[in-house]
């Protein structure tokens, strides 16, 4: 059995179920308790689980993650929230230097199984509140980095992350919290924290994306289908470890790859995908691997400018045509 629920509800269900299942699970973050969560993910949790298990913290991201690490070593299962990925920068030292390394540098003696949830997004929020840093985390060995796009993955991943032994950076996008999708019933619905998925089959070009970018790719694919261009759309789902094999298999079929990412292009996740895919699938490429990404500026406030920065469906379509060696045959509606 399955029901259709929102991404936000999928997260909520995952947290609730795991908190009931294991007393060691507890939450820490800013405004997650009394306020109900800045994105309402934990609404009602304080009342349901009490202040010891739903801890509102001071505004101290470094401390939040550090405490999470200590608590995990000390025998608890913390799920800490860094309100947005912009603020996660403050916690990078604990994440990179401790969370990712404790298991390795102390020779496997103990782990720090912390789940760090953080959200990306934009919407005229200004330069320091509109960034995308999944690449910063995906860069670091020792971390698992997931970025589910659909509610089913959100729930399955979060539960698996909480029950797993590795530190997990769980990246969300506030703009897709309302997206709906089928989620299977059952308390033990867990998904392995790896693997990309082909969600739409096609012959002409492979489009890879994740989080909100996945929906852009789907929209472009639907529009292009009306012209007879069939796009194969892959939801990456997990950034570290990266499932290159699935992408390679697709490129062997389509001979073309377009990567859609919301962050900046240079030194981003797309660069990694492109490099890895060409290592294994060079002889199947009929065109260079192209990336659709944000314009490399700090995010401006004005709505018209912001619109220019973030990739949209039309930009994806343009780039798909490029790899298909077409001129722009019809002016793209703007």
């Amino acid at each position: 059995m399955a029901r259709e629920i929102t991404y936000r509800d999928a997260l909520r269900e995952a947290l609730r179920e795991e908190m009931y299942r294991d007393e060691r699970v507890f939450l820490m973050g800013e405004d997650i308790g009394a306020y109900g969560g800045s994105y309402a993910v934990t609404r009602g949790f304080l009342q349901e689980f009490g202040p010891d298990r739903v801890r509102d913290t001071p505004i101290a991201e470094l401390g939040i993650v550090g405490l999470g690490i200590g608590a995990a070593i000390g025998g608890l299962l913390p799920v800490v929230e860094l309100m947005t990925v912009n603020f996660a920068l403050l916690a990078l030292d604990q994440i990179v230097n401790h969370l990712a390394k404790i298991y390795y540098m102390f020779n496997g003696q103990f782990t720090a199984p912390v789940v760090v949830r953080t959200a990306e997004g934009f919407g005229q929020l200004g330069a320091t509140h509109s960034q995308f840093f999944e690449n910063y985390f995906a860069y670091v060995p020792g971390l698992r980095v997931v970025a589910p796009a659909v509610p089913k993955d959100a729930k399955g991943f979060l539960k698996a992350a909480i029950r797993g032994n590795d530190p997990v950076i769980f990246i969300e996008n506030s703009l897709i919290y309302r997206n709906r999708g089928e989620v299977p019933d059952g308390e033990d619905f867990l998904l392995p924290l790896e693997g990309a998925e082909v969600r739409r089959e096609g012959r002409d070009v492979t489009i890879v994306s994740w989080l909100r970018g996945y929906y852009l790719a789907l929209g472009a694919a639907e529009e292009l289908a009306r012209e007879g261009i069939e796009c194969e759309v892959i939801d990456l789902r997990v950034l570290r470890p990266l499932d290159v094999e699935t992408i390679v298999r697709s490129v062997q079929k389509t001979n073309r790859l377009v990567i859609v990412e919301e962050g900046w292009k240079s030194f981003g996740v797309g660069a990694e995908i492109a490099a890895s895919v060409q290592e294994r699938a060079l002889d199947y490429l009929d065109a260079p691997i192209m990336r659709v990404a944000s314009v490399e500026v700090s995010m401006p406030y004005a709505r018209n400018l912001e619109r220019l920065v973030i990739p949209n469906k039309d930009k994806v379509i343009e780039v798909v045509r490029e790899v298909l060696y077409q001129r722009l045959l019809a002016p793209v509606a703007r």
């Binding site: 002889d283 199947y284 490429l285 060696y325």
Partner: protein, 442 residues
């Protein structure tokens, strides 16, 4: 600093151009805007101009060479300027004028493809090819230097090599009688879906057929072939014929032509243009395009194409805003367009456009009627036969009278309109032709 001159994009479809003749030579001075060469494209011959003033330091393409759009063909600078070798990218593809994309399979005595004086890649130059193409070439033993690439900078891409990979196929039997007339050439900027799939593969020799000579199709013919196939496959055509009595029309024409200067003398085609344009005002859905999956784009202007036969194929320039033009203006315009069409001096914007086409085979005197293939992405086309003197029985009379009549066959995209619309449209056109004073009034 040397200024580069590249093969310019002259028209949506243009992928490459052939240098027919350099009008300037190395060492000559050229001014910005001055014609520097004559080139041939799919459709027409054109002069191209220099975008910089200065002295021609180097010409990078030879007469007769075909060069992809965007590729360097000349360098212009100050006299005595040194040209660095790296600044001159080796052209990826150097070749003879004819297109080599379509090749038929070798017969029993494996003839060469049309012999080339030099391969598409000059010896010693690096071939640009996508990695996929290289692998396929290696797997199938294909010499990449013989292939012309259609990708950027002459890159050989999948589309270019697939036709060379032999795949046995059943012989093509003619499936339906082809329309009797040469269809109008595709000259409109297509909103139609581009072919992303591989083009036709080679045909294996059929037992029983004799030996054959291989003729490379000219670019124009290739384009026509492709466009007409697309149009006929994708638009479900139906055809409606009517016959109009044109004595009055011809009489009016004589009257007009007796009174006006040479360049304003109207032809039957001019009158047809006006008649169709006026009729289309009442039937806007025939002045439209079907856009999959479920849109109709109804144009706000009526631009009528006329098919013109030239030495190398058909081309169809158009009369813009035809319903608002007086006959004299139409006449003047069509004379000019037809003349330049025959001399292959049309500019792309003169034939890339149009919302409805008229194809007139009447000049042969013997074509009773014919059906034409719609010019994509238009909704309809009118095929005009010869004016024939025929016996007609009038109401109440047992004796026929001789009447000059003209048959018109309208082809319509059934996704856009039904038979009733077509019939009513033709009725309107016929009325205008049979009461030609109306043409002067609206």
């Amino acid at each position: 600093m040397a200024r580069p001159l590249v093969m310019p994009q002259m028209g949506y479809d243009m992928k490459e151009g052939t240098i027919l003749r350099w009008l300037k030579h190395e060492g000559d001075r050229v001014e910005r805007g001055e014609p520097i060469a004559e080139i041939e494209t799919d459709k027409v011959n054109l002069e191209i101009e220099s975008f910089a003033s200065g002295v021609i330091l180097k010409l990078l393409a030879k007469e007769g060479e075909t060069v992809p759009v965007g590729q360097l063909i000349a360098l212009i600078g100050e006299p005595g300027e040194k040209v660095e070798e790296e600044a001159v990218p080796a052209p990826a593809v150097v070749g003879a004028a004819t297109a080599a994309a379509t090749v038929t399979a070798p017969g029993p005595r494996a003839p060469e493809a049309a012999p080339l004086e030099e391969g598409p890649t000059a010896p010693g130059e690096r071939v640009r090819a996508s990695p996929l193409v290289r692998r396929l070439a290696a797997e199938h033993g294909i010499d990449l230097s013989k292939i012309r690439g259609s990708g950027p900078g002459g890159r050989i891409v999948k589309e270019d090599i697939l036709p060379l990979i032999a795949a046995p196929r059943a012989p093509l039997a003619p499936e339906q009688p082809a329309p009797a007339a040469a269809p109008p050439p595709p000259s409109v900027p297509p909103a139609a879906p581009p072919a992303a799939a591989a083009p036709a593969v080679t045909v294996a020799p059929v037992p029983g057929l004799p030996e054959f000579e291989v003729i490379e199709l000219s670019r124009i013919r290739q384009t026509i072939a492709r466009r007409m196939a697309e149009s006929f496959q994708q638009a479900p055509h139906f055809f409606v014929t009517t016959v109009a009595e044109v004595d009055a029309l011809l009489a009016l024409r004589e009257q007009i032509n007796a009174q006006v200067p040479e360049e304003e003398r109207v032809s039957v085609t001019d009158l047809l243009i006006k008649a169709c344009a006026l009729a289309l005002r009442d039937f806007p859905t025939l002045n439209a395009s079907f856009v999959p999956p479920n849109q109709l784009h109804i144009y706000k202007r009526i631009d009528i194409n006329i098919a013109v036969a030239t030495e190398h194929g058909l081309i169809a320039p158009y009369v813009p805003d035809a319903d608002h033009k007086p006959l004299a203006a139409i006449a003047r315009l069509t004379k000019d367009l037809i003349a330049r069409a025959r001399e292959e001096r049309l500019r792309p914007e003169e034939y890339q456009g149009g919302t409805f086409t008229i194809s007139n085979l009447g000049m042969f005197g013997l074509v009773e009627h014919f059906t034409a293939i719609i010019n994509p992405p238009q909704a309809a086309i009118l095929a005009v036969g010869s004016i024939l003197r025929e016996p007609v029985y009038r109401e109440g009379s047992e004796e026929p009278v001789p009447v000059r009549r003209l048959r018109l066959t309208l082809s319509v995209d059934h996704r856009v309109a039904d038979g009733a619309v077509a019939a009513r449209f033709l009725q309107t056109v016929r009325t205008l032709l049979e009461q030609p004073m109306l043409l002067l009034v609206r």
